[in-house]
Amino acid sequence: MKKEFRVIADLLPRNIRVLDVGCGDGSLMSHLIKEKNIEVRGLEIVEENVKKCIYKGLSVIEGNAETELHQFPTKSFDFVILSQTLQAFYNPEKVLKDLLRIGKSVIISIPNFGYWKVRTSLLIFGKMPVTKTLPNSWYNTPNLHMCTIKDFFDFCIEKKININKVVGVNEETTSEIKKSNLEIKNLFSKVGIFLLK
């Protein structure tokens, strides 16, 4: 399982209700059920992934988070998870607002555009970065609103969204990100995981 999923799982208490937005083939959902006895539902846009979830006996709704989050009642889940897709929405601010409405807490992970490899790609080679976490070229990337960990940090403060915890993930380690180490972590984390309330 992805290291990022392990960090997300560690942030969650046992026996709660979770909505996994963009749940993919359900690997995180399966893990949460098995390890934490979590009641988990998924929302997924890719038909093939929806079927994979169904075959595994996971509860999944085929749909587009951009337009279909309204179907989930307010505060109907303890946690809502959105893994590395916020940047792909036309209107990430609206999606985030909906996630915060549905969940008592929200966990969002973002691929960090401030990661040093991304920065050097643009700075040294003058080309749009293509990395493991950002595998697409400029012309076919689904990512419309790339941001850095620092950007998202500032965004939350500006929108008065309560940041409970931030974890930076890179190849070897995971570490907590605080205001004091934000500059350095923004340079060395591939992915930032935000726990919001």
């Binding site: 038909e47 979830c53 075959y55 006996g57």
Partner: protein, 375 residues
């Protein structure tokens, strides 16, 4: 005919929505496969408007394939080697259950229009008695498409947690204006046939064939998609090189509709179409509960999988999604998948591999969960 049809005499009084009470009426049903010792493999299927209890194998009355052989049978998505499949003929129908062509004991004549107007809820309540009769406390799954799906949603609302899982396919929680209009077209076609004679045709041992055939043609158009129909028939002519400059069935699509229409009159009763379409039109789950659909589905432990078809214009993906939204609002456990296909509303009845795979995957995974729960 009768020895080929299993019948349960429903002795418990049933109060119909129209306030009439009935008892001691026949409910025709069929089963496939066998119930296992733990009773964790029973699947109840609800049939659609023109279906009957003969889901799989050969229908002993019509000698044709059962209406859902694509999905139900040995080795099929709903594998009768593994599961015990049950299906009852709806009341109001004409395959042995209490319906307008049955004899009214009070008059010794066929009911005709003296048959009470029934609802989907009445249909479902009568079928629930079958589970007691078969000794089944809780079903592994219940499934149904179209009107079968509407019965299933009603079943879950009226008898919560009688089934571990449910697959409502291509259906909705209420009948739309368009669907009521199409049903009205079918009814008017029957009633405009002079043979119909206010439903009294059975006394003369005849059927209003022309009207009933037109009613069926309306149905068949609505079961296909525009694209599917264009691809299947296009403007192809029926066994001729040129127009005949007449009103014969020049086009293949005309020939198809006529064939479907007139084959149907051999096996179906015109009054049954009136009664069953009425039951569909009256269906509105939110109307039955003061708190609307959220109230209808509250405290559901049943695991739902709603399936829609992208080219279905009779019960659109949007309508199916509305059911998902209602179930979500009630906090129910619901999955949803849209099958991308050109085969229209009929998709659940024909060989649509993606649909059948999804159905099988869901039921098999539910069986594992249900067995674990029963341990």
């Amino acid at each position: 005919m009768s020895e080929k049809i299993k019948k349960l005499n429903v002795s418990k009084p049933l109060v119909l929505d129209c306030k009439k009470t009935v008892k001691d009426f026949p409910l025709a049903y069929e089963t496939y496969g066998s119930l296992n010792k733990n009773k964790d493999n029973a699947i109840l299927i609800f049939h659609a408007l023109t279906g009957d209890q003969f889901v799989s194998g050969t229908n002993p009355i019509t000698k044709k394939d059962g209406w859902w052989v694509t999905a139900v049978g040995p080795g099929k998505a709903i594998d009768t080697n593994k599961y015990f499949v049950i299906c009852a003929n709806v009341i109001g129908g004409c395959m042995g259950s209490w319906g307008p062509k049955e004899i009214d004991k009070n008059t010794n004549e066929a009911y005709g229009l003296n048959f009470p107007v029934i609802t989907i809820k009445d249909i479902v309540k009568s079928q629930e008695t079958l589970l007691d009769h078969l000794g089944i406390n809780k079903l592994l799954c219940a499934a149904g498409g179209s009107m079968g799906g509407m019965q299933l949603l009603q079943f879950c609302a009226t008898f919560p947690n009688k089934t571990f899982s449910a697959v409502p396919i291509a259906c909705s929680t209420n009948h739309s204006a368009q669907n009521i209009a199409l049903n009205e077209l079918a009814r008017q076609a029957i009633m405009a046939d002079p043979v119909w004679d206010n439903g009294k045709y059975l006394k003369k041992n005849i059927q209003p064939k022309n009207g009933l055939a037109v009613a069926r043609m309306v149905g068949h158009i609505s079961y296909l998609s525009e694209k599917g129909m264009q691809e299947k028939f296009g403007r192809k002519l029926q066994e001729k090189a040129d127009y005949k400059f007449s009103f014969d069935a020049d086009f293949q699509v005309e020939s198809y509709l006529r064939h479907q229409g007139f084959a149907f009159v051999e096996r179906f009763d015109a009054n049954s179409i009136l009664y069953i379409t009425r039951a569909m039109d009256y269906f509105d789950l939110s109307r039955q509960f003061e708190g609307g659909l959220v109230e209808a589905f509250k405290n559901q432990k049943t695991k739902f999988l709603i399936i829609s078809f992208s080219s279905d214009w009779l019960y659109t993906t949007k309508e199916n999604k509305d059911t998902v939204i209602a179930l979500n609002a009630a906090g129910a456990d619901v999955s949803f998948a849209e099958i991308k296909t050109d085969k229209g509303h009929d998709s659940f009845l024909v060989n649509e591999p993606e649909f059948l795979k999804t159905l099988k995957g869901f039921i098999d995974s539910m069986h594992i969960k249900f067995k674990n729960e029963k341990k």
